[in-house]
C-alpha cells in the first residue's frame, strides 16, 4: 500500500508488523510520535502486545531486558537524554546477547538543553556493543526497522540493534511510503523463536552471572567476534529484503540495501561521507555539481556498527579528496566518524586529502551552501582539517 506517512508512523507501522510481544517505553521528544501511535494501535486492538508504560528510559530498557530473557520479541524507542539514561543497561543487554530492538530519534545532548537533531546521542553509545543503522528517509525507517529484528535475532548475531533516525528532520516529516502486505512481512520475519538461553522453570538457567578475570575477557572476545561477523548476516538480510520487497516508490531507498549507499561515487574525485537525513541535501549538491562536470559523490553509511570497513575502503580507494560531514564530535579530539575513517584509510595505505566538517549540532540548519562550501574547501585543501559549519 502506498501512502504519505510521517517517518515516526512508518516506524510504528513496521513495529506493529514485526509483532513484538512486549514494548516498554518512556516518552521523550522527538521520539513521542512513535510510541503514541503504538499506544493507539494497542488501544484500538490493532495488535496484541504488552505495552509497559515505563517510569523512565532506564526502566524501559530494563523491562525489555527481562522480557527478552523470558523469550519474547521486545522493542523500545528513545532519544538523547533517554538514551544516555539507558547507558548502563545498553552494555548489559549486549553482553547478555539479548536481541532487543530499539529506535533512537537522534537529538542533541544537554547542556544547553536542546530538543533538536544531531548525532551526539547515538555516537556516544557506539561502544555499547549494539548494532547501529542510520536511515535517510521514511521508507528506510520502515525497512530498517523490519530488518533489525531479523538481524538481531539471528543466532549467529544475538546482538541488540538500534535504528537511528534524525529527530524532527525525519521523525516529523511526511514522505511517500510503501507498506507491504502483512503476509509478506510474516514470511520475511516469522514469529519469534529465541535462539538464546531463556528463563524457564522447566529448564532453569542462570543468566547474568558474575564473570571473574578467568572468563570475562573470553566472553567479551566472543561478543566482539559476533558483532564483527554480523556484517555478513546484515548484508544477507539487506539482500534478502531488497529481493523480497523491490522498490515501489522511486528515490525513497536504495535499489539494493547495502552497508553503504554509493551515490555517484564510481569515478568521483571528491567523496563526502555522512549518515542520516542530511544525505538528501548532499545528494542535491552532488547532482548540481555533477551537472557542472565536477566529479563529486556521496558515501552514505547505513550500517555504522559494526563498522563496514571493507565497503568504505572499496568506495574511497580512488578518491583524491574525502570530506566527513558529521553531526557529532568528541570534545578535545574532533569528529567521531572522521577519526574512524582516517584510521581506516591509514591502515589501507590510502592518503587522500581529508577534511572534517562538524555540521547541524542541536538542529542548526545544514544548507545547500554549507555543502557547496564543504566540497570547495575539501577540493582546494582550504582551511583547517576540522571545520565547524555555523
Amino acid at each position: 500500500m502506498k501512502e504519505i506517512a510521517e517517518a515516526s508512523h512508518a516506524i510504528s507501522e513496521a513495529v506493529k508488523m514485526a509483532k513484538p510481544a512486549v514494548i516498554a517505553a518512556y516518552p521523550i521528544t522527538p521520539q513521542t510520535h512513535i510510541v503514541e501511535r503504538l499506544s493507539e494501535m494497542v488501544a484500538n486492538g490493532e495488535f496484541k502486545t504488552e505495552y509497559i508504560n515505563s517510569d523512565s528510559e532506564f526502566a524501559a530498557i530494563s523491562s525489555c531486558l527481562g522480557s527478552s530473557a523470558a523469550g519474547v520479541r521486545s522493542y523500545t524507542a528513545t532519544s538523547s537524554q533517554g538514551l544516555a539514561l539507558m547507558n548502563e543497561i545498553l552494555y548489559i543487554v549486549s553482553g547478555m546477547r539479548l536481541p532487543i530492538c530499539m529506535t533512537v530519534a537522534n537529538r542533541a545532548l544537554s547542556a544547553p538543553i536542546n530538543i533538536w537533531n544531531d548525532h551526539q546521542d547515538t555516537m556516544s553509545v557506539r561502544d555499547c556493543g549494539w548494532i547501529q543503522m542510520f536511515a535517510e528517509t521514511a521508507q528506510e525507517c520502515f525497512d530498517l526497522t523490519l530488518m533489525q529484528f531479523k538481524i538481531s535475532e539471528d543466532k549467529r548475531v544475538l546482538t541488540p540493534s538500534m535504528v537511528c533516525i534524525d529527530g524532527f528532520t525525519l521523525t516529523h516529516v511526511y514522505e511517500p511510503l510503501h507498506v507491504p502486505k502483512q503476509e509478506a512481512v510474516d514470511d520475511f520475519l516469522p514469529g519469534y523463536t529465541p535462539q538464546h538461553a531463556v528463563l524457564d522453570p522447566d529448564y532453569p538457567m542462570t543468566l547474568g552471572a558474575i564473570g571473574f578475570p578467568s572468563h570475562y575477557m573470553e566472553i567479551r572476545y566472543t561478543q566482539n567476534k559476533a558483532i564483527l561477523d554480523s556484517l555478513n548476516v546484515i548484508k544477507e538480510v539487506y539482500q534478502d529484503f531488497s529481493k523480497r520487497f523491490p522498490v515501489e516508490i522511486k528515490n525513497t531507498r536504495p535499489e539494493e540495501y547495502n552497508h553503504v549507499e554509493r551515490y555517484r561515487t564510481d569515478d568521483a574525485e571528491t567523496i563526502l561521507i555522512s549518515l542520516g537525513s542530511v544525505c538528501g541535501t548532499i545528494k542535491d549538491v552532488v547532482d548540481e555539481l555533477r551537472a557542472k562536470g565536477e566529479k563529486v559523490g556521496l558515501l552514505k553509511l547505513i550500517t555504522y556498527r559494526p563498522f563496514p570497513k571493507e565497503s568504505i575502503v572499496k568506495t574511497l580507494k580512488n578518491a583524491k579528496n574525502v570530506a566527513v560531514v558529521e553531526k557529532a564530535f568528541s570534545p578535545g579530539l574532533g569528529g567521531v566518524l572522521y577519526n574512524e575513517v582516517a584510521t581506516l584509510l591509514y591502515e589501507n595505505q590510502l592518503k587522500p586529502k581529508m577534511r572534517d566538517f562538524i555540521v547541524g549540532l542541536g538542529g542548526k540548519d545544514v544548507t545547500l551552501n554549507h555543502i557547496r562550501e564543504i566540497v570547495k574547501n575539501t577540493k582546494e585543501d582550504k582551511g583547517p582539517v576540522e571545520q565547524w559549519m555555523f
Binding site: 510481544a21 522480557s67 523470558a70 547474568g208 558474575i210
Partner: protein, 303 residues
C-alpha cells in the same frame, strides 16, 4: 538442615561462597522454598549475585537473572509481561535485592512497578547497609549504626538519620500485601513470603537479616540477634494487608526487652552503649516504643 514445617526441596544449593553465618543466604534460601519450582527469580547486584553465580558455576536450581544493581524490579516487570503473553500465568516472578538496591538506588523503579500494579513479589533482604562493597550506610541503616561511611567518632554517633520507612512508602502505593519479616522467625517469615507470592499484584516483604561482618556479630548468633531485633521491637514483624495493619510480634509495648539486649551483641552499636552516649540510647529506646505503639494503634483502629 531441615526446618520443621518448611518444604524440604532446596532451590538454593550448598557450596555458595557466602560468609559463615550469613543471614542473607538464609533469607534467599527461605524465599526459594516459599516460591517453589514454578518461579523465575530476578536478583540485583550485591552479595547474593556474587556468592552464588561465579561463572560457570551456579547455586540456583530455579531460573535466575541478574541485570544491574538498581533495575531488578523493572526486569521483573518485563519478565511478568512476557509470561502474560506466553500464557504462563501460573509462573511466579520473585524479585529480590538488598536494602541498597531497594531503599536507595532502585527505589524509583520499584515505585513504578507498584504504581502500575505489575504482578511481582519484591523481597528486600534487608541487612541495613551496603555490605557487598564494604559496609557503607544506606537509607535502611538505623540511627546510630557505625558503618564505613557513617563511622562513629568524636563528632559522630554513627548514622545520623533514622531508617527510611519503606513499608509505608509502598503502602502509600496501594499494594495489596506488604510485610516485614525476620530470619529470627523463619516459619513466620515463610508464611509471610508465601502470602506475598500468592497475592496477585505487586507485593513486598522486607526480610530483616543479620550480616556477620556488617553488624559485627558472632556467626553462631545470626538467628539469636535477628530474634532479639523482633523481641526488643527494633524490627517488629507485621503485615499491611490491603492497607490494614496486623502486628505479629511483639504485641505489647510495655513488655519489650530493652534495646540494649539487641545492640550489645553487635559491634556496629558498641559506641552507643558507652555511658557518654546514654542520650542516644534513650532516644533509640523511645523511638522504638513509639514506632511499635503506632503500628498497634493502626491495627486497633482497623487502619
Amino acid at each position: 538442615m531441615v526446618i520443621y514445617g518448611l518444604p524440604e526441596e532446596e532451590y538454593f544449593t550448598v557450596g555458595h561462597r557466602a560468609c559463615a553465618g550469613c543471614g542473607e543466604a538464609i533469607a534467599v534460601r527461605l524465599l526459594t522454598k516459599a516460591a517453589g519450582k514454578n518461579t523465575i527469580l530476578v536478583d540485583s547486584t550485591g552479595c547474593m549475585e556474587v556468592i552464588s553465580t561465579p561463572y560457570p558455576e551456579t547455586s540456583w536450581k530455579l531460573p535466575w537473572i541478574h541485570g544491574a544493581f538498581e533495575n531488578n524490579s523493572s526486569i521483573g516487570t518485563g519478565v511478568s509481561a512476557a509470561l502474560k503473553m506466553q500464557g504462563k500465568d501460573d509462573t511466579k516472578v520473585v524479585v529480590f535485592g538488598g536494602d541498597g538496591a531497594t531503599y536507595d538506588i532502585g527505589m524509583g523503579c520499584i515505585s513504578g512497578v507498584f504504581e502500575r500494579g505489575d504482578n511481582i513479589t519484591y523481597v528486600c533482604t534487608d541487612n541495613e547497609a551496603y555490605m557487598n562493597t564494604g559496609i557503607q550506610r544506606s537509607g535502611a541503616t538505623p540511627l546510630g549504626a557505625s558503618t564505613t561511611t557513617s563511622p562513629d567518632g568524636k563528632q559522630s554517633i554513627g548514622k545520623q538519620q533514622w531508617k527510611k520507612d519503606m513499608m509505608h512508602i509502598l503502602a502509600a502505593h496501594g499494594s495489596p500485601y506488604l510485610a516485614q519479616a525476620s530470619i529470627g522467625y523463619l516459619p513466620d517469615a515463610y508464611q509471610k513470603l508465601k502470602k506475598a507470592m500468592e497475592t496477585p499484584g505487586p507485593t513486598f516483604v522486607n526480610l530483616i537479616c543479620t550480616c556477620v561482618p556488617g553488624w559485627r556479630t558472632d556467626p553462631a548468633q545470626t538467628i539469636t540477634v535477628a530474634k532479639l531485633g523482633v523481641e526488643t521491637g527494633v524490627t517488629p514483624v507485621y503485615e499491611i494487608i490491603k492497607g490494614k495493619h496486623t502486628v505479629t510480634r511483639p504485641r505489647d509495648v510495655d513488655k519489650l526487652k530493652p534495646v540494649e539486649e539487641y545492640l550489645k551483641l553487635q559491634g556496629r552499636f558498641k559506641h552507643i552503649l558507652k555511658p557518654e552516649n546514654k542520650t542516644q540510647l534513650d532516644l533509640i529506646q523511645k523511638q522504638v516504643k513509639e514506632n511499635l505503639a503506632l503500628l498497634l494503634e493502626y491495627e486497633s483502629k482497623g487502619l
